[in-house]
Symmetry: C2
Subunit: 147 residues, 2 copies
Amino acid sequence: MRARDLVDDFPTVSLDSPALEAAQLLAEQDLPGLIVVDESGLPHSVLPGTQVLRLAVPRYCQDDPALARVVDEAHADIFLRSLTGRTVRECLPQEPRELPVTDPDATVLEIAALMARTRSPLVAIVDAGRLRGAITLQALLDRLLAS
Amino acid sequence: MRARDLVDDFPTVSLDSPALEAAQLLAEQDLPGLIVVDESGLPHSVLPGTQVLRLAVPRYCQDDPALARVVDEAHADIFLRSLTGRTVRECLPQEPRELPVTDPDATVLEIAALMARTRSPLVAIVDAGRLRGAITLQALLDRLLAS
């Protein structure tokens, strides 16, 4: 079994997509993460859901739990305010990371190792310069473990 | 809105649970991760799904994509072999990490920041020395963003 046997369609967002729409896509379709494509349609970033969440958390709260606790609970819409009017590009983390991207020949073990190493429940599959889709952690586990 | 308004029941595994059963629980119930409890019933570890996957990937493959590619595709059952006969305790990562655990008073922002910082799509809620349940990334996003 190789990546080509596991790959499935997966929605993408572009660098210029509104950040709020990207977050809503994640929530509404119960996606484990987002694939952000560049102008050529290839993966620019693959964001695990937890890192999409990061887009919406003000920087001053990310590393200081005490500050995050002080913010009044009525302000749940702080997420909406953080995201509204910004594009995905403006919200992406700055630091370059290993992209969870591989090709259709990848073995199951390779996909699993890539997910574990990059902590991404989502691997994008690229073939001949085109995005073919993605493999999710759940799809992988379902094929390997579910009885 | 605080953690107490979002917390829900969540299955747990113990340190002495068979690792294979833990992985199957994750797959069959589509969980975003596992809460491993100690003898007192409190969270010992909270493992995102990608790190549960790590339990099943032989160490020699985790950091070397080339080796992972060489492993014959027929051997998808390498996962089963890796896990069979081992307990969760034997498979846990060695390095101590910040636990995604908080209390019922945590604000939405605090939970989101904790998920983002620990890269865990799952936060365990502990109150008065007892595990009360968990909040998943999807539950959090559903409440904040879904229309």
